[in-house]
Symmetry: C2
Subunit: 474 residues, 2 copies
Amino acid sequence: MATTHQLTPPHLHHPSASTTPRVRATASLAHPLLLSRRLRLRLAAAPQSRSPCPRRGAMSVRSSLIDPDGGALVELVAPPDRVPALRAEADALPRVRLAHVDLQWAHVLAEGWASPLRGFMREHEYLQSLHFNCVRLPDGGLVNMSLPIVLAIGDADKDQIGGNPDVALQGPDGGVVAILRRVEIYPHNKEERIARTFGTTAPGLPYVDEAIASAGNWLIGGDLEVLEPIKYNDGLDHYRLSPRQLRNEFDKRGADAVFAFQLRNPVHNGHALLMNDTRRRLLEMGYKNPILLLHPLGGFTKADDVPLPVRMEQHSKVLEDGVLDPETTIVSIFPSPMHYAGPTEVQWHAKARINAGANFYIVGRDPAGMGHPTEKRDLYNPDHGKKVLSMAPGLEKLNILPFKVAAYDTVAKEMAFFDPSRSQDFLFISGTKMRTFAKNGENPPDGFMCPGGWKVLVDYYNSLQAEEATPVPV
Amino acid sequence: MATTHQLTPPHLHHPSASTTPRVRATASLAHPLLLSRRLRLRLAAAPQSRSPCPRRGAMSVRSSLIDPDGGALVELVAPPDRVPALRAEADALPRVRLAHVDLQWAHVLAEGWASPLRGFMREHEYLQSLHFNCVRLPDGGLVNMSLPIVLAIGDADKDQIGGNPDVALQGPDGGVVAILRRVEIYPHNKEERIARTFGTTAPGLPYVDEAIASAGNWLIGGDLEVLEPIKYNDGLDHYRLSPRQLRNEFDKRGADAVFAFQLRNPVHNGHALLMNDTRRRLLEMGYKNPILLLHPLGGFTKADDVPLPVRMEQHSKVLEDGVLDPETTIVSIFPSPMHYAGPTEVQWHAKARINAGANFYIVGRDPAGMGHPTEKRDLYNPDHGKKVLSMAPGLEKLNILPFKVAAYDTVAKEMAFFDPSRSQDFLFISGTKMRTFAKNGENPPDGFMCPGGWKVLVDYYNSLQAEEATPVPV
């Protein structure tokens, strides 16, 4: 297995690993979507506590996991006993209404995915992110921070805030979700932000259209204090494990290596082959208990991506069908919105998983990429993502695992690693081709995807077509 | 004096400083432009040797200067005894013709301004520069490298090179100037390069028009071996001191601090005030012999900038008139082309001066900035340059000196540091206003610029107008 960073044998990497008691969760959280389908996947019990440090002291396990960026996980949800006082305080503060994407970023910040950030970026963090894809710690060290995590406001909000140091943040439905403290307001240089983040200013970038182009001309940074854990009430909140919850679960399972697989597409058997092969190789390297974090992205995605609930159902089928081993797999939702910023964004995807305890990261062709919005080509060179990831300041401690190419082996009638010596036997099925099959009700070759997972996709595209065919009242 | 990085007292910063013998150059190089005008400025003797390490061993001075990036100055000019063999070798190699700007970059690389780069960037260096504004050393450390120093070639050149590991580089006039070894050819993603370097893709960026838009679709990187020191034969080559030559001169003068002033405009008395004030403050801080490097940029500039020969004549008048002290000032030409890339480029300007021995860098409002090419505003936030510079990875060892604002004091009738308590007394004279004065033959207020320097500008604009008025034969 080619790795870009040096792989350290587990006993060196994790001095405590060999003496760490392997503790299994004895109770599993009821997991409606999966357990109802005989799923044996053990999910971490989602703590109901709103404490910034849930279950601290409850674990007697010494963790052998990688440290979060900055040394400690930054958690910004207020303890429950502070909430009444915070609500009273918020009543007297100027208010800013968050868009849906802003709320997703508040969620990301609140749980420490962006550790050591303590809130929406102030200008000094924004500039470092924009120019260097990293920010400096107080001790002079660098942590990776490739996407600006910023909150835009308009002139009216700015005027309303005036010289107030603190601002209440309302969710899209109007309820107060957080207080932003010691705020700093600075110009939102949209063109420059877009150019430096995406490497293009072409019209039609999904995240720009959603969250930048029509956003305000100012950015407001500050320290975030979130009143309650952010929930979406979409039936999937129990999948949204925080970095703390994931770390607890990895420790409970006695993980001595965690390998993360970021995805925003259905899982086919080529993905599964890769994940299973990665585990096998980690075992060969001497790790005793590598755990897979199968980590679909749950925030904003572009209109033609498969929606999150459909993907989650598809993933559950893949586990149900035994394609992945539930004993060594955790499925959870990564709450971040998607930028489609290719080599810039893949760093964020990897960095956030360090904070959740992953020390191995699988990276494929053209991660976080898409077609150029106005030209007939990929927006990014498909190889740049893994190259940039392997060079990124602040990610030295993460082991990068380049994706091996899997394709459909027409002889073996299964997904297999591509063998160039008999390339004529292999069939490449792109995401676009897969979606076309599903839309047209055609079946992909046997062995491409487990039948249960495939049916989820076919049903979804059928429902879309039914919707399109339904006359809309005028 | 506000400094962003901690200022270390000289005896701590340079342990050898107090015991370093202060050696003065006893012979000055004849300097036609300046000495003919009674200039007492002592310039370093320009060594005639073509050795990569000119004068090594000739100096008995222990240097107290800051180390070059990567620890050693990279010099890529072949020793003279190798040149015949290199010429013979070049005859058998595929050839690439350099544009003028490419030759300027070859010059920059050859003398070690971009240390530790050993040639035009290969892809791994290019990607790090583009995404992180820095490149990693073999020991894992980072050095700053904010501008891609790359060589573009077209399809025909690429085909001609084929699998050849080495390529001969011809100057714009056709003569072989260098060999590029162990070349790597990779795609020139122009749109992304422009967006990430300039923070915009708007049409009309001078460097893009000059060197990127019509350049080839491939980049070629490799190790550079330059046959002879690059000369321009424009009467100014003696001003083009290499980092090695500058370091030798600083050592000869016993400099224990070197403060660099990058400029591409005429020097007015506000600049001079700032430079003299900086020296005074460095003396107050305990430095015994701070030397000013007055370092006009000599490579490509946009059409409406004052041309290099005029600027050099203007600078010589400023020294002649005693506005700056020739004993503690070195005027030299920085051979780099100008990108006008604002906060990205100012890092390059600072980094290159570290390699020449400067440990203090003066930074002003909107460094390396310009007007937005298609909108009525500055392309960059004028404060971002100094902020980004102060945060840049790899520049931690450089002391950043933010420019204090000088303006014309109408009471004292001289340039003075702006005093906000009597702002009505001050007149701000922008570069545009200065050029308008000179173009219209009007005089700026007394004390704005020394009369000799002003006359150089007026003569230049008069000659331009005369040229415009001359009928062109058809």
